[in-house]
Assembly symmetry: C2
Homo-oligomer: 198 residues x 2
DNA sequence: CCTTCGAACTGTACGGTGTCCAATTTAACT
DNA sequence: AGTTAAATTGGACACCGTACAGTTCGAAGG
């Protein structure tokens, strides 16, 4: 039984395996700890720093992996851009709710700055452009939608008293989301709405 | 020079003075620490536990004090309830932005559960009732508005790159808020609106 | 006035956290 | 083969929240 490994003995880690372990730990205990991740990997805590610069980088990695599960419908000429936006934000909301434990981390890191987040933002801007919204107006609309979605998921994932069943919360989210999309696609730039065809 | 105080020697603290010190500390360093608060008061760290049960209770206290600064316009018969709601949420947004350091704490505690938060919620429900929105619909609308406001403030208060000037962010917040209020006061409960008297 | 008692406060300490440093070993490259 | 960079470890540091058991004060009751 060679239970303990001496210094230098490889454990075969990788950034991916570290992030996997971190995801598991956060799913089980609701919070990450360098030591907990290391223990799950059968490794000394410091080892993680060979694959991850910081704890924040570790958390960011986990967050971005979760965001990778969001279904981002591509541009659909002929389809309603509002519908596409609605689907994308709903998928994001669902994905976030599927991992309620890391919603606090999501909030404090303000939405993750990883590549998947970037990808989703780009897709959103495409849909907004298809709806005739570009430039600053598009960026503002995007910000509003992101804030709303993450914020709502965070409040839903709260471990407090739960008088409201999940389905009702989903409806609640859906209703507010429709209000926002309606406002975005309808009344933007009320002074000059010439080429807003439809 | 009697610099150090022996055990038992009173320091003249009170819950209020502790919360004051905590507010200052959080304003300077962006985070609270029992030890930091104690040091600022010239007191041993444990002393705080005579005036505050927990660190979370301390943070909650600070949060609720900040929320006390929000101007909550009373019910105004004849006035537009939508305007009142708009003013209240805008005031909340301003107050939150005035204390960007404790926005993370606000988020992780999901909006503070203190008595001022309660008061603001009650006022909001009054205004919603004045707009003909009651019961579950009112609670849903309130949730949407709170999520949006806190979420937006949190994104604004982020210490990241700031390509957007503050005034523009305020306009951005304002626009989204109007969309939400429009949706709330216009199309609520489209299927069964029988006893929604008005 | 004296006694009593609860509350304020301190010293100390425990278990936990993130992270740095110097060693050690291994795998890969030349 | 020898050299080198990377992976891993033990150990340590500084900090965190907080529990425990004492000390001392201020006020209340006789």
């Amino acid at each position: 039984m060679q239970g303990t490994r001496g210094p230098g003995r490889r454990a075969g880690l990788s950034r991916d395996r570290v992030l996997d372990a971190a995801t598991d730990v956060i799913a089980e205990h609701g919070a990450v700890t360098m030591r907990a991740v290391a223990q799950r990997l059968g490794v000394a805590p410091n080892t993680l720093y060979s694959h991850v610069a910081d704890k924040t980088e570790l958390v960011d990695g986990v967050l971005d992996r979760v965001l990778a599960q969001v279904e981002a419908p591509g541009p659909d000429p002929g389809g309603d851009p509002g519908d596409a936006i609605h689907r994308l934000m709903t998928s994001t909301h669902d994905v976030l709710l599927r991992h309620p434990q890391l919603l606090p981390a999501f909030l404090t890191r303000q939405g993750a700055r990883g590549e998947n987040a970037h990808r989703l933002g780009a897709v959103m801007l495409e849909h907004l452009a298809a709806a005739g919204i570009t430039g600053d107006a598009a960026r503002e609309a995007l910000r509003v939608l992101i804030v709303y979605t993450i914020g709502f998921a965070a409040f839903d994932g709260a471990p407090e008293e739960r008088p409201v069943p999940g389905s009702e919360l989903r409806d609640n989210f859906d209703r507010g989301l429709r209000w926002l999309i309606a406002g975005i696609t309808a009344g933007e730039a009320p002074d000059r709405r010439s080429e807003s065809l439809r």
